[in-house]
């Protein structure tokens, strides 16, 4: 079995079709992308015991039971806020595992990393299913959150370096295709989970236990197919007829920086800032998109008038459905942006692409409150859809930016370390948005207007991102590897 996973085993033979690699990468990214869609499980998971006892809702814990008591209890239902920790764990462990195991991935190759990712991600589903069966939240946190989170990190970075080496002529497009899958995973996983839960549900169960088992199995098969589809090019391979342009920009190197050296360069930390600030602003918007459109437009969303608080329960339910529709629309533009902007970056360059994100983003975030006041739902939606394309585009363009700056040899590992910016943004964005909003509401600002200051502050983050991008310059000569160091790295010598 070990031989099957070896890096040497997956070196492509002459005549191999490089277009087979992106679908393999997509199979993995579409599977792990379900992490974005886990909220579909929160409601059924929060009603497991209630439904078993024939109640309409949850079986609430006693009021005097503290947080630890609730975590350890097997006799009352979990709160949605307790389940939500799984989401935080996903993104913390995604970033940490990508940073820690990136060097290992470069050494052992993408297939082994993809197989380990499949075991972790699917294994997380199976451990969580056991947690549901025993009604033990710690098993869900450890299974999906921690072990699954490590699978996310490994799965996410597993194809990046390989795709960049197969598509030196279209780095952005190639990584954009794979990373588009991560955005698209929830589009498939959420409705699939919904269908499966309805299929497995009985009078006394929500069907979520069986759904976890079924989805874990499906993802395991899909990810193994992806991992076994990976092939790496020979070290001297390049696309037929393609040669690097002699007049290539100084921002695109043909040499290589070691992963440990890359983190000592200002360029790495500037790009870390670029990703963190772009993602913080985007995550902030994603988190508040649905409530924002409901509170800003209120009754106008259903052809009436009046603020959200003045509407009937039935009208509020209709508006909540429209809020969910808005969130769905944004998720579509998120994946479109991943492919579109990353492909465009091949033509106009990475630095210019990020300049567009930060300049256009600042303008759009600043214009959104005025669009809300104008009463135009279409204009408001168009602004946020465009913002979401740039959020996705930021994720998908960064691997190619790294390859341009640091070379392709360690780009997977360098990308892994850079993903700690994502983990940071995953905490920073929502915290910033929630605290600013709560502070304003405490100060007496009406709910519908409380988003305005938040949007201006998010625009400020983009200005900071613009400055980081502006400061990115070619990497200094002393950081590049010598020929002998590069040769040692290619023969599989252990990383420094």
């Amino acid at each position: 079995m070990a031989g099957l996973l070896d890096k040497e085993r997956i070196i492509a033979p002459p005549g191999f079709n490089r277009w087979l690699v992106p679908p393999a990468a997509l199979a993995i990214h579409l599977s792990i992308g379900m992490a974005y869609g886990f909220s579909v499980f929160w409601l059924p998971l929060s009603r497991l015991l209630g439904k078993a006892q024939g109640l309409d809702g949850s079986l609430a814990c006693p009021a005097d039971l503290g947080f630890v008591g609730e975590v350890l209890s097997t006799s009352c239902d979990w709160k949605i806020s307790t389940l939500g920790w799984m989401y935080t764990l996903f993104f913390v462990f995604l970033g940490s595992s990508a940073a820690i195991f990136g060097g290992w991935l470069e050494r052992v190759g993408p297939r082994r990393a993809g197989v380990v990712a499949a075991f972790c991600w699917a294994g997380g589903f199976f451990i969580s299913a056991l947690g549901i069966h025993l009604h033990q939240i710690l098993l869900l946190w450890a299974g999906s959150g921690i072990i699954g989170g490590c699978g996310l990190g490994l799965g996410y970075i597993s194809p990046v370096s390989t795709l960049i080496k197969w598509f030196p002529d279209r780095r952005g497009m190639a990584t954009g295709m794979a990373i588009m899958g991560f955005g698209g995973g929830a589009l498939i996983g959420s409705p699939l989970a919904d269908v499966l839960m309805k299929h497995f549900a009985t009078a006394t169960t929500t069907g979520v236990f069986e759904t976890f088992l079924a989805m874990g199995t499906l993802y395991f098969i899909a990810m193994l197919c992806g991992a076994f589809g990976y092939r790496i090019p020979r070290a001297d391979w390049s696309p037929p007829g393609w040669t690097p342009r002699a007049s290539q920009s100084a921002m695109v190197t043909t040499r290589h920086v070691h992963v440990n050296e890359a983190t000592r360069t200002p360029q790495f930390w500037l790009l870390w800032g670029v990703l963190c600030l772009n993602v913080s602003a985007g995550i902030g918007v994603i988190g508040m998109a649905s409530p924002m459109i409901q509170e800003v437009f209120g009754g106008r969303l259903i052809g009436g008038a009046g603020a959200l608080a003045e509407l009937s329960t039935e009208q509020k339910a209709q508006i909540a459905t429209i809020g969910a529709a808005f969130a769905a629309l944004l998720s579509f533009f998120n994946i479109i942006g991943r492919f579109g902007w990353a492909s465009l970056s091949d033509l106009i360059g990475r630095k210019r692409t990020y300049f567009i994100f930060f300049l256009l983003g600042t303008l759009l975030y600043s214009a959104a409150p005025a669009a809300g006041r104008s009463g135009s739902i279409a204009l408001f939606a168009a602004i946020f859809c465009t913002i979401l394309t740039m959020y996705g585009g930021g994720f998908a363009t960064i691997p190619a930016y790294l390859a341009d700056m640091f070379g392709t040899q360690f780009v997977g590992a360098i990308h892994g370390r850079l993903l700690t910016a994502w983990s940071t943004a995953g905490v920073l964005g929502p915290v910033l948005v929630n605290y600013i909003r709560e502070y304003q509401i405490r100060q007496g600002v009406p709910n519908a207007q409380a988003y305005n200051t938040t949007l201006y502050i998010l625009a400020g983050l983009l200005v900071a991102g613009f400055l980081c991008n502006l400061l990115v310059r070619p990497v200094a000569e002393r950081h590049f590897m010598t020929d002998s160091e590069l040769a040692a790295a290619r023969t599989g010598a252990k990383l420094k």
């Binding site: 005549g15 079709n17 277009w19 087979l20 589009l187 001297d236 391979w237 429209i322 739902i377 590049f480």
Partner: protein
């Protein structure tokens, strides 16, 4: 200091069978993705009613 990754090579072009495999692989990942996108559009249509 020279780069050895981006040297042009004289690989044979991919065979016709390999393009059939490419098409099959894209169909396998494309169908579920299109299903997800179709459902998303159906949900999002509510916004413009």
């Amino acid at each position: 200091m020279s780069d050895t990754v981006n040297r042009p090579t004289d690989d044979p072009p991919p065979s016709g069978a390999s393009w059939a495999m490419v098409a099959a692989a894209w169909v396998l990942v494309g169908i579920p993705l299109l299903w997800g996108i179709a459902i998303t559009f159906r949900k999002a249509a509510l916004l413009f009613r």
